[in-house]
């Protein structure tokens, strides 16, 4: 069976700086993958490659067997939704108007929103619990509300794969846990997820597998308990050895709570 998304020896350079070196990995249908790695390793770049907004320098990214380079961007956006870290909007758009933008890849040249588009928007608001925010001004929302609205925009695209760039960044602990709940519920509905995550403690119990990008090694893929090992993380994140206990404490503490 052709996988939903496939990186095949994908490399990417910004200028002459190599960011991603021959990445190979597969996101199967319905998978829920956390993407981790140190700052600047190329997590956002990898998500952009997956969304088709960047083209690989060499190698391919394939959606259901088709190279993204050969698909129209609107066709990609009907299957893959990218939720970026920051969205800044210059005017006072309402939440509903922001979410409507998710239907852009489905609209004709001169057409407006149809009944099917409305239905997708309503469903996206239900899934993210943003219906009560629809009349609010997007720029005036709190961090957690903004994050939910951005995900609703992505869901309005009715994607098979949702790409989340640091969905828990700048959120307080309560909102972080809500975000983890949301990711679980979306995954349970069969939407595949690839999310870059900074906070390692939120991964177990939410994601079914982890991709670890590290400076020296190839992309390492596995179940959370395989990847979230102190030795691996220490090397990947270049943690000073004297802080080993802190790292172990974090992971173990989390594991005990889960068990």
């Amino acid at each position: 069976m052709t996988p939903l998304l496939e990186f095949d020896q994908t490399s990417f350079c910004y200028g002459d700086r190599l960011i991603l070196d021959e990445i190979t990995g597969v996101v199967p249908n319905g998978a829920c993958v956390a993407l981790i790695g140190p700052n600047g390793i190329g997590k956002t770049t990898l998500l952009r490659l997956a969304a088709g907004t960047l083209s690989p320098g060499s190698g391919e990214v394939r959606l259901l067997g088709q190279p993204l380079d050969r698909l129209k961007q609107s066709a990609i956006a009907r299957s893959i939704a990218l939720v970026p870290q920051n969205v800044d909007v210059p005017f006072a758009f309402t939440v509903e108007q922001i979410i409507e933008q998710g239907r852009t890849p489905f609209l004709r040249m001169f057409g407006g929103l149809q009944a099917a588009d409305r239905a997708a928007i309503e469903e996206a608001m239900d899934l993210t619990d943003t219906r009560s925010l629809r009349g609010r001004i997007f720029n005036q929302l709190s961090g957690g509300e903004r994050q939910r609205v951005k995900i609703a925009l992505g869901l309005a695209q009715r994607p098979q794969l949702l790409l989340l760039d640091e969905p828990t960044q700048h959120l307080d602990i309560g909102r972080q846990l809500e975000m983890a709940d949301l990711i679980r519920s979306l995954s349970a509905r069969g939407i595949a997820i690839l999310a870059s995550m900074h906070d390692l403690t939120l991964i177990e119990g939410t994601f079914s597998s982890v991709w670890l990008l590290s400076p020296e090694d190839d992309l390492r893929q596995g179940a959370p308990e395989e990847i979230l090992q102190p030795e691996l993380l220490e090397r990947a994140f270049r943690c000073p050895p004297q802080h080993r206990s802190v790292l172990e404490e974090r992971i173990r503490g989390r594991r005990e709570r889960v068990l």
Binding site: K72, V87, V89, P90, F91, A92, F93, T94, T104, N139
Partner: protein, 358 residues
């Protein structure tokens, strides 16, 4: 206790933030009526007054005007009124387009130098190529369009920093470019071979005066305006998507570069149309879209028809005041809009500073 207070504050804040924008159709209807009324009133006022009631009845064919009244109303006032409405509408719509393009509510055809470019282009037409016509369009209108496109491309290239257009760079680039362009128009005076005519035209352009257009001029400008307005319709939805930023819009399947070029071309055509009749009229493209945004919200598809109508009403009223306030002398409408728009611009600038628009 403290907790109660915070909860109340949160509840209060969320009440204040909830916005229900009125129906678009209602405002379009109201503005259409306002425009019709403004036209009738404006036809009646001036050195020779014709009561609005009589005029309305005459328009309905129930009463007849005297020959003098007929000449004054139909041959003198009507072209000017149509010109004012067209200019106001074209400037407002191009302001709306440029604000969406720059993602910045301060972008106005005058502020960002597009009007200045159109004046320079049109001046070249008047001074050097006054007898040339291409496909029925005078060289003046075409060169005005070319001037507007070039100047906005220049400002756009100068003002963009990392894919954004910060207020500071936009204003500085716009100021520098439009100053250079306006003074370049003066330079053309030296080359004037016609002694006088071109000079008067240039002076009225730089003051922002809606003169006495011929029906031929009105026809050309109306065609440019209609074309520009029709082409803006499919752009309005794209402007909403562009508000999310270049990368996001690209992801959603918008061809960002093509859309930007289309906005520049269409906005410049509307600017050139406005400049051909009224010259440098400042801030209309800033005030009108902003007022409409306060009433109808940020959605460009809702804003476009309302802005086009409101711009026509606004400038028609302003021009009517300008030609009657110090009668028998006339004020340039550009002077009036500068007095209205200038403070408004400063207010917006302060507001922009506070919000995270920089």
């Amino acid at each position: 206790m403290a907790r109660q207070v915070t909860q109340d504050a949160v509840a209060l804040a969320s009440c204040a933030e909830e916005r229900r924008f009125p129906r678009q159709g209602l405002w379009v209807g109201m503005l259409t009526i306002a425009l019709s009324l403004a036209i009738v009133v404006s036809l009646g006022v001036g050195a020779v007054g014709v009561p609005a009631r009589k005029l309305a009845l005459a328009l309905l064919g129930r009463e007849s005007l005297t020959a003098d009244q007929r000449i004054i109303v139909l041959s003198l006032r009507l072209p000017r009124i149509l010109a004012a409405a067209l200019v106001g509408s074209a400037l407002s719509v191009s302001g709306l387009l440029f604000q969406g393009l720059f993602r910045n509510p301060l972008a106005d055809p005058y502020v960002i130098g597009s009007s200045g470019g159109a004046v320079l282009g049109a001046s070249v037409g008047v001074f050097l190529l006054s007898s040339v016509t291409v496909a029925g369009f005078g060289a003046t209108a075409l060169l005005g369009f070319v001037g507007a496109v070039c100047s906005i491309l220049l400002v756009y290239a100068l003002a963009r920093v990392h894919g954004r257009t910060p207020v500071v760079t936009l204003l500085l680039a716009g100021f520098a470019v439009s100053t250079m362009l306006s003074y370049s128009s003066y330079f053309l005076e030296v080359l004037d071979r016609d002694f006088g005519t071109g000079l008067r035209v240039l002076a009225s352009w730089l003051h922002g005066t809606i003169g006495q257009p011929t029906w031929g001029q009105l026809t050309i400008v109306t065609m440019m305006f209609a074309l520009g307005l029709a082409a803006s319709v499919p752009l309005a939805r794209r402007l909403n998507t562009l508000s999310l930023g270049e990368e996001y819009a690209t992801h959603l399947g918008i061809h960002v570069q093509q859309t930007r070029i289309a906005i520049i071309v269409i906005g410049s055509m509307l600017t050139a149309a406005a400049v051909a009749l009224g010259g440098l009229i400042s801030f209309v493209g800033l005030v009108v879209p902003h007022m409409m945004r306060m009433i109808l919200g940020a959605d460009h598809t809702r804003l476009l028809p309302a802005t086009a109508l409101a711009g026509a009403v606004f400038l028609l009223l302003a021009d009517t005041v300008a030609r009657t306030i110090i009668a028998p002398a006339e004020l340039s409408v550009g002077v009036l809009t500068a007095f209205i728009g200038g403070p408004f611009f400063l207010y917006l600038l302060r507001k922009t500073k506070q919000e995270t628009l920089l």
